[in-house]
C-alpha cells in the first residue's frame, strides 16, 4: 500500500515535472535557455570549447525552447521560443564558426532581454 502510494506520487511528480508550467514559468525557462545559449556561444567566440559539446548542448537547449513553443498558449512566448530554437539550431549547425557564434550570441542576448520583460 505504502509502495503503491509512493509510486503514484512519483508518477504525479514526473508528469508535473514534464509540463512547462504557467506563462511566467515558461518565460523564465526561455530566459534561462537564452542565458545558457549566450554562455555557450561565448565559448565558441573565444575558441574555448569543443565542437561536439557546442553542437550537442545547443541542440538540447533548442529542444527545450521548442517544448515551450509547443506547449504555450501565449503568442509572444511562442514567437520568442521559436526564435530561440532557430538561433540555437544555427549555433549547433556551425559549432566552429566564430563569426556566426558572435552573431548568435548578440541575438540570444536580445532574446534573453525579451524573456525577462515577459516574465
Amino acid at each position: 500500500m505504502v509502495l503503491r502510494i509512493l509510486l503514484l506520487a512519483a508518477l504525479a511528480a514526473i508528469v508535473a515535472g514534464c509540463g512547462v508550467g504557467p506563462p511566467p514559468v515558461q518565460a523564465g525557462t526561455l530566459g534561462s535557455v537564452a542565458g545558457e545559449g549566450v554562455l555557450l556561444a561565448q565559448g565558441v567566440v573565444r575558441g574555448e570549447t569543443t565542437e561536439t559539446f557546442t553542437r550537442v548542448h545547443a541542440e538540447e537547449l533548442a529542444a527545450q525552447a521548442r517544448t515551450v513553443a509547443g506547449a504555450t498558449e501565449v503568442g509572444d512566448l511562442r514567437s520568442l521560443a521559436t526564435s530561440l530554437a532557430v538561433a540555437l539550431d544555427e549555433l549547433a549547425g556551425t559549432p566552429d564558426d566564430r563569426r556566426a557564434a558572435l552573431r548568435v550570441e548578440r541575438r540570444l542576448r536580445r532574446l534573453a532581454e525579451r524573456a525577462k520583460a515577459l516574465s
Binding site: L3, A9, A10, T52, F53
Partner: protein, 409 residues
C-alpha cells in the same frame, strides 16, 4: 607507512566517489536558485553521512554484518521487507538515472546518438561489474572522479562574493519561495545521505575483510574522505551561484553543469568536468548496482560479494544483472535521467529512517559490538541525525509536489 598510504588511497577514493548524479543535480540547481544560501544544508548532509558511514563501517568490521543483514534482524521480516522494497526501488531509480547520466556525458564528449550511448553505458557498467575486482572498482572511479576538483578552481575563478559564501554556512530560512527552499534542503541532505552509499560502504568493509584493526581506516575514510568530498558539493553550488544565478539560468542538463566549468576555465575546464562527471556517475552506477544486489542477497541470506567469483555467488550475480536490465528498461523509454534523479533522491529520503535506525541500534548493542559500541559523541550525532531524517522523510514527498519539483508554484 604502508598503513598511512592505504588510508590516503581510501580517502582519495572516498573524495572522488562522494559525488553522484543526485549531488550534481541538487547542488547546481540549489546554487542557481538560491546562490550560496544553502551551503549549510550540504554541511548537514555531509555530517549525516560521516556519522552513519563510520557507524556502519564499524559494525561491519566488528560484527562482520552488513546493513541489510542488520536491518532484517532488527526490524523483523515484514518491516524489513518494506525497507528492502523501498531500498531496492530507490536503488533502481538511482541506477537508471546514473546509466542515463553516463550516456548523456558520453554524448557531450562523442556526439553519438543518445540511445546508442545508453546501450554502451549499460554494457560498460555490466562488463566492469562482471570482470573488475572490488578494489579496482572502488579506486579507479574514485581517482578519476577527482577531476571534479576542477569545479573548486572554477568556483574560485568565478570570483564569488566570499562574504555571502561564508554567510551561506549559517543555517537560515532563506529568501524567496520558502517551499522551494525547503525542497532543496531535503534534496541536498537526501543526496548526501542516500542509502545506497551505506549499503555499499558496509558491504565493502566485508569485501575487504576489515576487522577491529581497520577501525582507524574506517574513521579516516568516513571523516576525512566525506568531508573533503563535501568540498566538491560546495564548489558545484558556489560555481552555479556565481555564474548562473546572475543570468537567471536554471540549469537542468549535465551539459549545463559542464558549462559552469567551461565558462571560466575554457576547454581544459570543460574536458576535466566532463571526465570527472563521467567517472563519478559511472562509479556511482556500479556502487548503486552492487548496493541493490547486496541488499537483496543479505536480506534473503544468499551468498554474496565480489570476493567470491560471479559463479560462486550466483544469486547475487543474477540480482545485479536483473537490476541493470530493469534500469536500462526504465531509461530507454526516453524519460529524462535528470528528472529520474530528482525523484530517486526524494524517495531515498523517505527510505532513510528504515536504513539508519537499525544501524544505530546494532552499534549500541554490546552483544555484537563489545567494547566498540557507540560512545557519547556517536550517539549524540546518531540520534540527532535520526530525528532529522525522520523529519525530512515525512516532508519529502509533500514538498516535491508543493514545490513542483523545485520549479516553484
Amino acid at each position: 607507512m604502508k598503513a598511512i598510504f592505504s588510508i590516503a588511497l581510501g580517502v582519495l577514493a572516498a573524495i572522488g566517489g562522494f559525488v553522484d548524479i543526485g549531488d550534481i543535480v541538487f547542488n547546481v540547481a540549489a546554487g542557481s536558485t538560491f546562490g550560496y544560501q544553502l551551503l549549510w544544508a550540504v554541511v548537514l548532509g555531509v555530517g549525516g553521512i560521516i556519522t552513519y558511514a563510520e557507524m556502519c563501517g564499524r559494525v561491519a568490521a566488528v560484527s562482520k554484518r552488513a546493513v541489510f543483514d542488520v536491518i532484517r534482524e532488527r526490524l523483523g521480516f515484514g518491516a524489513g521487507l518494506v525497507a528492502l522494497a523501498g531500498g531496492v526501488l530507490v536503488s533502481l531509480l538511482t541506477l537508471a538515472a546514473e546509466v542515463g547520466g553516463v550516456a548523456l556525458v558520453l554524448q557531450l564528449l562523442a556526439g553519438l546518438p543518445y540511445r546508442l550511448l545508453l546501450v554502451v553505458a549499460a554494457v560498460g557498467v555490466g562488463v566492469v561489474a562482471w570482470t573488475w575486482p572490488f578494489s579496482w572498482i572502488e579506486r579507479v572511479f574514485g581517482y578519476v572522479g577527482l577531476c571534479l576538483l576542477v569545479f573548486v578552481v572554477a568556483a574560485i575563478d568565478s570570483h564569488p562574493e566570499w562574504g555571502a559564501v561564508a554567510h551561506g554556512f549559517v543555517p537560515s530560512t532563506g529568501s524567496g519561495d520558502v517551499v522551494v527552499y525547503a525542497y532543496y534542503v531535503v534534496g541536498l541532505v537526501g543526496a548526501a545521505m542516500i542509502p545506497y552509499e551505506v549499503y555499499f560502504y558496509s558491504s565493502g568493509a566485508i569485501e575487504e575483510g576489515w576487522g577491529p584493526k581497520d577501525l582507524g581506516t574506517n574513521r579516516a575514510n568516513a571523516l576525512i574522505g566525506y568531508s573533503l568530498g563535501g568540498i566538491l558539493s560546495f564548489a558545484l553550488m558556489i560555481t552555479a551561484g556565481a555564474l548562473f544565478l546572475p543570468h537567471a539560468i536554471a540549469p537542468d542538463t549535465l551539459g549545463s553543469v559542464a558549462l559552469a566549468a567551461q565558462s571560466p576555465l575554457g576547454v581544459i575546464g570543460l574536458l576535466l568536468a566532463l571526465l570527472g562527471i563521467l567517472f563519478a556517475v559511472a562509479g556511482a552506477a556500479i556502487d548503486t548496482l552492487f548496493g541493490g544486489a547486496y541488499s537483496i542477497a543479505q536480506f534473503f541470506g544468499f551468498e554474496w560479494g565480489r570476493f567470491r567469483t560471479n559463479v560462486g555467488a550466483p544469486r547475487f550475480t543474477v540480482a545485479w544483472a536483473v537490476l541493470l536490465v530493469l534500469a536500462f528498461a526504465v531509461v530507454v523509454t526516453g524519460v529524462d535521467p535528470i528528472l529520474v534523479t530528482e525523484v530517486s533522491v526524494i524517495f531515498a529520503v523517505v527510505a532513510l529512517p528504515l536504513t539508519y535506525l537499525p544501524i544505530l541500534l546494532v552499534a549500541n548493542d554490546r552483544n555484537y559490538m563489545g567494547v566498540y559500541t557507540n560512545g557519547l559523541v556517536a550517539n549524540v550525532f546518531g540520534i540527532g541525525y535520526l530525528v532529522i531524517v525522520v523529519g525530512i522523510a515525512l516532508a519529502a514527498v509533500p514538498l516535491m509536489v508543493a514545490s513542483n519539483m523545485g520549479q516553484g508554484r
